[in-house]
Amino acid sequence: MIVQPHPLAADAPWVVLKFGGSSVARVDRWRNITALARQRREEGARVLIVVSALAGVTDALAAIARADDPAQRRAGAEAIAQRHIDFAGQLGVDAALLAPWLAQLAELAASGGQAHEQGHCAWQAQLLALGELMSSTLGNAALRQAGLVSRWLDAREFLQAEAAPVEAGNGWSRWLSAEAARDSEGDPAMRRQLLARQADIFISQGFIARDGDGCTVLLGRGGSDTSAACFGARLQAQRVEIWSDVAGLFSANPRQVPGARLLQRLDFEEAQEIAFTGARMLHPRCLGPLRRAGVPLSIRDTERPDLAGTLITPEQPDAPPSIKAISARTGITLVSMETAGMWQQVGFLADVFAVFKRHGLSVDLIGTAQTNVTVSLDPSENLLDSDVLAALCQDLANHCRVRAITPCTAISLVGRGMRGQLHRLRDVLAELGRLRVHLISQSSNDLNLTFVLDQADAEGLLPRLHAALIAAQAMPAEDDAVFGPSWGQLYAGAAAPASAPPPWWRDCAPALLAQAGQGTPTYVYHLPTVRVQAQALRALNAVQRWHYAVKANPHPAILRALAAEGLDFECVSPGEVQAVQSAVPGLAPERILFTPSMAAPAEYAHALTQGLRVTFDSLPSLSALAPEHAGQAIALRLDIGPGRGRHAHIRTGEGSKFGLALADLPAFMATASARQVRVETLHAHLGSGIADAGHWREVGVQLASLAEGLPHVRQLNLGGGLAVPYLPGEPALDLAAVGEHLTQLRQAYPDLELWLEPGRFLVAEAGVLLTRVNQVKHKGTQILIGCDAGMHTLLRPALYEAWHGIVNLDRLDAPPVWRADVVGPICESADVLGEGRRLPETVAGDVLLVAMAGAYGAVMASAYNLRQPARELVLDEGGFR
């Protein structure tokens, strides 16, 4: 039965709710839709619901439109009809309500588009419109059945399209990709008319509108969002809410960057720029009407109504400049036009742009020089399917020397006040500087900075740049009003819990403070955490041997703990070998993998004589081998570049000193054969901090395909680099996913063992650095907290600008009211442990804890300034040692 809630005032606000195809195609989602409509009504708003066609129906209708065969069209129409009749049954509503639409569907399918008096496109518009007309009809019935007083509204009554441009050729833009007319915006008449219809809840269609003659037209891609925006603007709504499968816009494409953060607040210009530069979530077209009308737009997840989503509002005058998102668009073609003749020549640009216009190509980015103009073309069907680029270049060649550079990727940093951020982009620029950058464009509205580079170079780049932006605070990820949870935290499922467990040291704070009382700076290593990490790795069955990269932390207690967990060791110097052998007496020599870099020939020979497994990565080191080592097995480290199929110039350019160039592989194998040593292991290690769970599989695939030509290879050493989350909100590496990827690899190459050599992953989290505050200094607005640990104790921040969490252990629960720089006692301006940290009010004598300091901490310490090294303590179940 229908329950009438208390009536609304005539000037009650409107809220527009839009639901996409996957939301309206499921019965359980209709329960959510009904609940939301009821909730908005109870909050005192009138509600207009805008729906798409059931998921897949628009495509199915388009397939009918493409079919020449009447029988095929009829079969398609029958399938669509049956789907809606079935869905009506699932919703428990009367399928007879669909009758008028089903009749139209049958008729349009039977007649076909060729015979239509206004042409094929007009027929197609009518046909495709049926998807929304049917879904909204069923939806209205579902709402009423749930007890809401709702009315069905024909969108064509209120939404009119712009008059078609005169030159519109085949009618595609007139009928199938029309623009909503601006006079559809801000219209009090619509409010009055709806008020007269005696309902508080209406349901209408996205995607469809009428033209000046009252015929049905479609609003093109993203059309349903545009419809909702137009309705919202027209009704002067309090808010438009777009409900979909994802919580909102993210700081990067989550498929490429799992650590991408939900953007909770954006202004219209920023959102528009993000939509233009690649976010598929939102069509840029839909923002215009709302911006002009000043109606906020909220993007929400239908499955997770608890999440706040993204709220897009007019610009806040006091918002600080910041980078909100980074995007990558691939398949870009650059056209570079070069001629000395353009210098001070009037009309050169007009001439060449006229050629682009003649070929129907729209230019995106532009870079100019005295003798060169380079423009970018977005990938379009036109470019891929026709010879338009060839024809364009041919014509341009009459004006200048032309070069078509493709395929390129455009990487855009988006946010307000880009020009004020340049000093923070050092690491991002350094990363890009190693690649082939063809064009840099800074948008004239100061909302984006775009780099166009070789597409192959851009693979895998986005996560690194995203992390670099956060680390440099150019993307202020700790501003939790704007930056919400990461996609990984929200959607990665059980593998990555939404909230990480509290770190081990939280519970040990009093004991740690007591130890700090014995002297600082002090490193503390928590062995149970080391064991937990080791056991997590050992649980991945696809890997036969785990080698602990000793260089991360050679403390004997850690070496013993890991040996007891069944790990082997990877050493890079005789000193490390000795450290392992003395910490773990009697360790079988083949459990040590010796992988030095550019070491003296004697080191290799000695290690082989000891029976260690030895990794070579150059011809000279192998050539120097004495005959006595004939018959021994060795490992070979290859430089396979940063990814499959990456450019040679990255590989051999100013790259790393590690690994044998692939081109030298045949010569290496010939030398191995001459020295009668067998290459039994292929090894590659591509870097550290890798959070992409598929990375090691990719390395393995590379190595395995190389191994097919090398008959003695038995093992693939896929390196280490397993990321640990240093930054707040950074998702942890999904180990289960790593295991699945490696299992696939193992199944494809069952004859090859898989080895890995993690270091940081095992020990970083287990270690903290305790340091006492020497003094606190205020310099203008800057607050400096000086402590007794510095770059001589923990070098990573100074060396890599690494980010370590810092807390005041004496005031763990005090509010973080300061933004302070934490610095050390060394006479170097780089002696900074953390910049701009949120900390409570801190006084001299407080103890600070630097988190995640177990890897590359004490082992990289120095005696610089002749200051004393930190103490190292081990905390195990039985207490401190």
Binding site: G331, T333, P379, L383, L384, D385, S386, D387, V388, L389, A390, L392, C393, Q394, L396, A397, R401, V402, R403, A404, I405, T406, P407, D454, Q455, A456, E459, G643, R644, G645, R646, H647, A648, H649, T652, R678, R697, E698, V701, A704, S705, L706, E708, P711, H712, Q744, L745, A748, Y749, D751
Partner: protein
């Protein structure tokens, strides 16, 4: 097997064919070999759905062919001078074929290992008493009968698919001809499986497992190198045709596969020997004589140049984001182009170059994810393709004429001519070479093929110079 025997390639005297059996119950064929009195080396082939034996004589004859030809994988580990048959002795015609497979087919292997196999080996009947196991040498060898009188094989084709452009061109030609066909490949390959699935045709994936001892022999210093794998696959295809009932086994080797890669010291070394016309004819003749006169084995693309095949493939856009001709065998595919194309081997270089005249530039670079012709570091690879100061690579790539013609076409096109390697061709290489043949002339069918009469219409359906940008 004798205890204490170890593999020592220098001391091995004889390679022996022991036995071949097909078990219709399990669909598994077992091929057994041995060196001297070493362990039995057993290779297994798995035929899905365990096809029953309809004609034992034909199956036995085809199984023998597989046994003899697949032995080359093991023989090459030690290359002894003597090969013995403890199983059935081949007829003279088959023996002549084997002699070619074990010498010409191993020519590249020999050249790379600094060996000369000409006049090296001799085939003989075993002088050892047959062991009990070998008594049942070929499972179905007791069945007698004139193959010519056997029931007819159904009129349909078993088509080899390789995941690259060539077999796809054949498949689409045959499809347009209304051919009843099934696609087959041997061993695990996600690329081929994915491409085969895209065709929507029925498929047959035959499994093949090498004798595990071979890996151990490798560790002990076995010879290694290129083997005539197409010969092995052809023989397995013929056995499959007999088991499942097909009267044609279709491969997709082009005209250029017959050209020698290298002539040296009076020897010609052809990397693609078993893809060449000489092997095709010799093998087809043995199949007709020994297995069934109704069974056609041929290469549908034999009359065509690589360029003609590539031109045809350029139109088959549905496959462009799925196929790969790269010889880095990625057993796991990535989503991105780099998961299918290494972008640096001769196959990648040749396919890129050969497709370039026939595809819009943005569409071509989308396939590879990069523009190989604008990478100066790849100059040496492309030089080898045009045989400029280098010999043609040991790979299945087109002839130098074809690569030269493609470069010449690109040098005339505004969207290509400024790219590093096209420019290099035009300014440095072309002036030092005789004029390149026009692209169009290389698209015309060539004489010398064994395509049965009933497929003539397909040959006429191939492109003949209507490439875009060609006048």
């Amino acid at each position: 097997m004798s205890a204490g025997w170890t593999f020592d390639r220098e001391r091995i005297r004889v390679f022996r064919f022991l036995s071949a059996r097909y078990d219709a119950e399990s669909g598994i064929a077992r091929l057994a070999y041995a060196f001297d009195d070493g362990p039995e080396l057993v290779e297994t082939l798995g035929f899905p759905d365990a096809p029953p034996v309809r004609d034992a004589a034909r199956v036995a004859a085809a199984l023998d062919l597989v046994h003899w030809i697949a032995g080359v994988s093991y023989y090459k580990a030690a290359i002894p001078r003597r090969i013995e048959f403890a199983s059935r002795q081949p007829e003279p015609q088959a023996l002549a074929l084997l002699d070619q497979v074990y010498s010409d087919g191993l020519a590249e292997f020999a050249w790379r290992n600094g060996l000369d196999l000409r006049g090296h080996l001799s085939f003989a009947e075993s002088d050892q008493p047959r062991s009990a196991g070998a008594a049942a040498a070929t499972t179905v060898d007791s069945a007698q009968g004139d193959p010519a009188l056997s029931p007819a094989l159904p009129r349909r084709s078993l088509v080899a698919i390789g995941g690259g452009k060539d077999s796809l061109v054949s498949i689409e030609l045959l499809r347009s001809h209304g051919e009843d066909m099934r696609l087959f490949w041997i061993g695990q390959s996600p690329l081929i499986a994915a491409v085969a699935a895209r065709t929507g045709l029925p498929v047959l994936n035959i499994s093949r497992r090498l004798a595990p001892e071979l890996f151990e022999f490798n560790r002990l210093g076995a010879w290694n190198g290129h083997i005539p794998v197409t010969a092995i696959n052809s023989a397995i295809g013929v056995l499959a045709a007999v088991l499942y009932g097909y009267d044609a086994v279709v491969f997709s080797n082009e005209h250029s596969a017959s050209a020698a890669t290298l002539e040296t010291g009076g020897r010609s070394v052809n990397h693609q020997w078993s893809k060449g016309f000489a092997f095709e004819q010799a093998f087809a003749a043995v199949v007709q004589a020994a297995v069934s006169p109704q069974l056609d084995y041929f290469s549908l693309l034999r009359p065509f140049s690589e360029l003609a095949v590539t031109a045809r493939f350029a139109d088959m856009t549905a496959y462009h984001q799925h196929f790969s001709s790269c010889n880095r065998n990625f057993r796991i595919l990535g989503e991105r182009p780099a998961g299918r194309w290494c972008g640096e081997c001769p196959k990648c270089q040749f396919v890129f170059l050969a497709l370039a005249p026939f595809l819009p530039k943005p569409a071509l670079v989308r396939i590879f994810g990069r523009n190989l012709l604008d990478e100066p570091a790849q100059a040496a690879g492309f030089d080898a393709l045009v045989e400029w100061q280098a010999h043609k690579p040991f790979e299945c790539v087109g002839e130098a004429d074809e690569s030269r013609a493609a470069f010449a076409a690109l040098a005339g096109r505004a969207e290509w001519r400024e790219d590093a390697l096209v420019k290099r061709w035009a300014t440095h290489i072309a002036p030092q070479l005789p004029a390149s043949a026009a692209l169009a002339t290389l698209l015309a069918p060539r004489p010398g093929h064994a395509v049965p009469e009933r497929y003539q219409a397909l040959i006429n359906a191939m492109p003949d110079g209507r490439a875009p940008g060609l006048e």
